[in-house]
Subunit: 707 residues, 2 copies
């Protein structure tokens, strides 16, 4: 795989294979755009039909070119792409963009045709972008190598680099987000079906690229999803935030994604887990991208999540409060000294609480701004400041901006501004803020949202720093590996729990009985009351099969239950292979949790946590992390679910043993890694979480073997 | 109360009391703005200090004016406002805006000063707007009666009328939402502390006003909150949608609101209930207001919530799918004939599913647009259509717009467009869509969001139509009224259930025993096992007091439990007045629900529903409706909570008796209305919902009497 991607974005020469004289068509556009934006390198349109196009000499074939171009653009019909790619390979072209459609996205024959392209690329070590994509723009080098209306515009060169799996929409995003006070782009590329250079390859390059400081990404799904963790780590280390627009979040959206591209969707929950683990910021619209981008370019991260708001309009202060609290920040509690200071000059009909409302009185006394900002900035309980200027414009706006810039220069706390004046009526004020890289937004909602995003990122960064020396434990159990190797189907409770026990996860005391007498003896040894359940790899739903008895209190009961369970199991499924009846201690007085492993095709092993019954199954109140996880990460998983107060001791109940639960999750994660070649899924349902100090116990478990 | 509000917005003459020659200050601005925008009526600045201001004769006093102005603006210091208002009253001015701050928002003396203003207004029948507000704009009549930077701009007259409790932010909203392709305003007013004409008064006027077609509102909280239902009904009948921006949605936001204005916050859950009952559309940012406004101005409502998407960019189709599904719409299932038709011309690398992806192939064959639109529009399973045009611009954009306008003219289904080209590069296309009132948005996310809002409104409208002839039952029980009249404190279980029974809500079979023997006799009559609980108005938390026994299985047990319960109750609270011990049937095999009444200070009686335990208390998974409710509304409440699948029969359990639950909620609502003068709160916790056909039973209840 090629990694000299800077060559791709700044080629010294470009071959345009299948260039058309009709400049309106897809195959006519790339040459037109390269010319019109003043590309300085050498252009080689290739088409045996024409002697020239737009005054540029046209060549009959790849072989006829006088040199090896650094980039090839293939614009021919799908059936002819393989030949053209081979010609590129023979010529030694390092990078080729294949624009043509008609490959795996059409299914059927297209899949085989695409595989052939991948083979050719490999044979000649070509970095292929596409097929089924829309090209690339590098404004600084005037490389506009693609088609579509947005290629008509001229873009200012900047430091945001973006990769998009969607062509048309990706370039719309660039267009709308880079113009009119938006974000200047360093480079933008669309990847289509990704047979060669993938989204994550480009992201890795952007992290290395010294001229990139913010990375934008639009994805429907990536094939090498687990690599997100590695790329995320590198981005955190480089201090380059990733803004990620992941679509296909709903079931129907995923269906739409599947029918549209060759990329597998993958479970949104696992994407979210990966994003959270590595501080990858999710965006949900173009506005987010621009707003968060501006926020991040200020290059200031808050030390904590406590915000103070200064406003000249009370209403706007409320709005922003709503927004930042919903986004996970808190309103700072101002120190008594700060409040006392504010009382000296804030009008009585204003407010010295947080939000601090200095009111429209600033029209009569401008010094209010500076004094308030200073007082708030001096408060050690304030991590960042938002100032709301309503629609101030003209001269007063200019003065207010100057005050803000002055205070900002004396602090490293982030200062964000909500300012609703249109650009035309406060140009000097906005220019002053821009020059000082002080982010400003037209509405308090957008300002609050951007603040919350930056605060979330800063928190993720702190968390990753703090956890740097935490190691997720590694547990190797060759015996367990051997036991599952070559198995097919499900591993039922008794055996599944033996696997759990190998990794130190506490399980109920139990014994597998194959006769009535053995069952009675087992019950007497364990102590009454006991639970009894059929054990069969063919019966996953034991309750449905009426092959479970709980709270059996004496020997006669055990004997009767043994017979009945076997009878019911056979009635439920005549040919079920039955291992026996499991006799088990009854565990009382705990809270039921569900914990599990998903070994995802794209992400690999992940750990899941939720509360029992309805919580997980109906309300989907669960958390995920990609394995391996540290104790700190396990603790986050537990505290993250909405039902967490149940474990913390809601409704007068004693708090549950969250330490033991944390430990069980960490061990489960180690198991997930150690057995990732054989375990497809594992469910512990329920894991009984006993009161604090009493531990946890797996009361039932099932392992699904990789198919 | 004055209702001739059209006079307020179009006064023939205006007195400016306390006008200043310093045109930058708050008291100098109104005259400046009225003059600069070319107000055609007569202006009377009043200030004994000046002979004239800006060339307008200045009058020494109200008395000295040669006529009675139709509007007064009071700009003097708080302490002098009462005298000025009295002067206005004596002169007979119908409407007065009080801009001055320093009243109830400052607490203390300000409250009394504000009350005085209210008294004066009443005495002279003045319609007062404010105090502590920022004025009004009526662009058509050139009335710019207020202060602030946004008064510098010239606004195009239109048909959106807005009232805002926030001054500074309210006008920012008008400014940002009415310019640059936004919504043209008919009138905009801010209400401040609302001692006279309130937000809801203005809304009622906007409904009557023939030149208003959309109503915008920004509120922190309204004092006469129940009136929202009545105003909502009138707006639905008039076909004028209300766009409501309600802030203070989080606890901290409510705190900020409380410290900022004199308006009580009120519970957000009840506001949401009222909005839902009357199809009042909530907005959360300026962009929403503009986007939804454009959507509603198209004047087409979908017949159902099934959307078909046509796109030239697959990625954007996924995005919009996510958005509309999250917004409560569904993706239409295209008919086989439609799919067959589409297959004739959609390229194979596109998609004939929904979203229909016609791909960039339209660059080569423009007829794809028209044919696809026609085919989709002909499908009876499609209620509305969204078309995504990526960034098409120039000539092709113009042609595409013409095709859309043509198809739109032949159908009454809503057609929404997502089009990311900037205004400057597709002006003719956008103008064509605007002329045909076809809503278009720069991003698929915004387009999807606006569609979902319109679909939600249309659904609310259909629901209100359908329920027009449904009557909420009225139940009058003078006996129950008499029983609660004059009581204080809590009404404990036994008596509370007698009240419930009066209204036909099923309760457990039970008897209050005041002696051990009576308890045993009661248990024998009811049948074992029984539950036993202390009855005392002074002990609300019976379990905490260890004064509850469940599953008592025989007479000896009842006798022992009786003694123990009384002993524990006395130990818990020595001076508790104890009515006896309640002996009650045990109800098994049902699902625990919590239903209740909140008799809110602002909204009056409301009914609450949730599932037992954790669901309601930890997860806050509850629904509210303002009473009275019809059976259809009760059914919505039940189906609305996330935990509803539990009742419908999740996890292999039998479905619960939702009919009986519906009936109980309707009766509870009738009780809430009948007893609204005495009941502050009522909780039935739990209401046991038995399997289908078996009914419901209130197992415990508590009434809190109005304090």
């Amino acid at each position: 795989m090629r990694t000299d991607i800077e060559r791709f974005f700044s080629p010294k020469s470009i071959a345009i294979i299948g260039a058309s004289q009709d400049l309106v068509t897809i195959s006519g556009q790339p040459l037109k755009h390269l010319l019109s934006h003043g590309y300085k390198g050498k252009l080689y349109p290739i088409n045996p039909k024409y002697p020239e196009i737009s005054g540029v000499k046209c060549w009959p074939s790849m072989e006829s070119l006088p040199e090896t171009p650094e980039l090839g653009l293939i614009l021919v019909n799908a059936t002819r792409v393989a030949d053209m790619l081979t010609a590129c390979g023979k010529k030694g072209i390092p990078y080729v963009i294949i624009f043509s459609s008609g490959f795996s996205e059409t299914g059927g024959q297209g899949v085989a045709m695409q595989q052939k392209l991948a083979d050719i690329a490999k044979e000649y070590n070509i970095g292929v972008i596409g097929p089924n994509c829309q090209g690339m723009i590098n404004p600084a080098a005037a490389v506009y190598a693609g088609f579509g209306s947005v290629f008509n515009a001229d873009y200012t060169a900047g430091s945001v680099s973006m990769v998009s799996q969607s062509g048309g929409f990706g370039f719309s995003v660039m267009n709308l987000s880079s113009l009119d006070g938006g974000l200047p782009f360093r480079q933008m590329v669309t990847t289509g079906n990704e047979i060669g250079v993938s989204t994550l390859d480009f992201m890795e390059y952007f992290i290395r690229d010294p001229q990139t400081d913010i990375i934008g990404t639009y994805i429907e799904g990536v094939k090498d999803a687990r690599r997100i963790l590695d790329v995320g780590d590198k981005a955190l280390a480089a201090g380059k935030p990733i803004l990620m627009w992941k679509v296909g979040n709903t079931e129907q959206g995923q269906k739409a994604a599947a029918s549209h591209t060759a990329n597998l969707g993958g479970a949104m929950a696992l994407y979210k887990a990966a994003f959270r683990q590595k501080g990858i910021i999710q965006v949900e619209d173009i506005q987010d991208l621009v707003d968060y981008g501006h926020a991040l370019r200020s290059n200031r991260l808050p030390r904590g999540n406590r915000l103070a708001i200064i406003t000249i309009s009370g209403g706007a202060g409320i709005l922003m409060t709503d927004e930042i609290v919903a986004g996970g920040m808190q309103m700072a509690q101002l120190a008594p000294e700060t409040v006392a200071k504010l009382k000296e000059f804030v009008p009585s009909y204003g407010s010295v609480g947080n939000p601090v409302d200095v009111t429209a009185a600033i029209f009569n006394d401008l010094s209010l701004i500076n004094r308030t900002l200073q007082a708030i900035n001096d408060d050690p309980g304030v991590d960042c400041i938002a100032m709301i200027n309503a629609s101030l414009q003209g001269e007063i706006a200019q003065k207010v901006a100057a005050e803000i810039v002055m205070v900002a220069a004396q602090t490293d706390k982030p200062i964000f501004i909500s300012w609703s004046a249109r650009d035309a009526v406060a140009p000097e004020a906005y220019a002053a803020l821009d020059a000082a890289r002080i982010p400003h937004y037209k509405s308090p909602v957008r300002c609050g949202r951007a603040l919350a995003a930056v605060s979330w990122y800063a928190e993720a960064k702190r968390r990753n720093e703090a956890q740097k020396n935490d190691k997720a434990p590694v547990i190797k159990r060759p015996a367990a590996q051997a036991m599952l190797k070559g198995r097919t189907g499900d591993v039922a409770e008794y055996a599944a729990k033996q696997v759990l026990a190998e990794y130190g996860i506490p399980v109920t005391q139990e014994q597998l009985a194959t006769s009535r007498d053995a069952a009675v003896a087992a019950a007497q040894k364990i102590g009454f009351p006991v639970a009894m359940k059929v054990q069969s790899a063919d019966i996953s739903h034991k309750t449905e099969a009426k092959a479970v008895r709980l709270n059996v209190t004496d020997a006669a009961g055990v004997a009767a239950a043994f017979d009945e369970i076997l009878k019911n199991a056979k009635a439920y499924k005549a040919d079920a292979r039955i291992d026996g009846v499991l006799v088990q201690e009854m565990v009382g007085g705990g809270i039921e949790a569900i914990v599990g492993i998903t070994n995802d095709a794209l992400f690999g092993p992940a750990v899941m946590f939720g509360l029992g019954g309805i919580f997980a199954e109906v309300l989907k109140d669960v958390s995920f992390r990609l394995a391996p996880i540290t104790p700190a990460m396990a603790r986050e998983m537990i505290e993250e679910i909405k039902g967490y107060p149940v474990l913390a001791g809601a409704r007068g109940k004693p708090p549950a043993d969250v330490d033991a639960l944390t430990d069980a999750l960490v061990k489960l994660s180690a198991l997930a890694v150690d057995l990732k070649d054989s375990v497809a899924e594992l469910d512990i349902n329920p894991l009984i979480v006993l009161p604090k100090g009493k531990g946890v116990k797996a009361a039932d478990a099932l392992i699904r073997i990789k198919g």
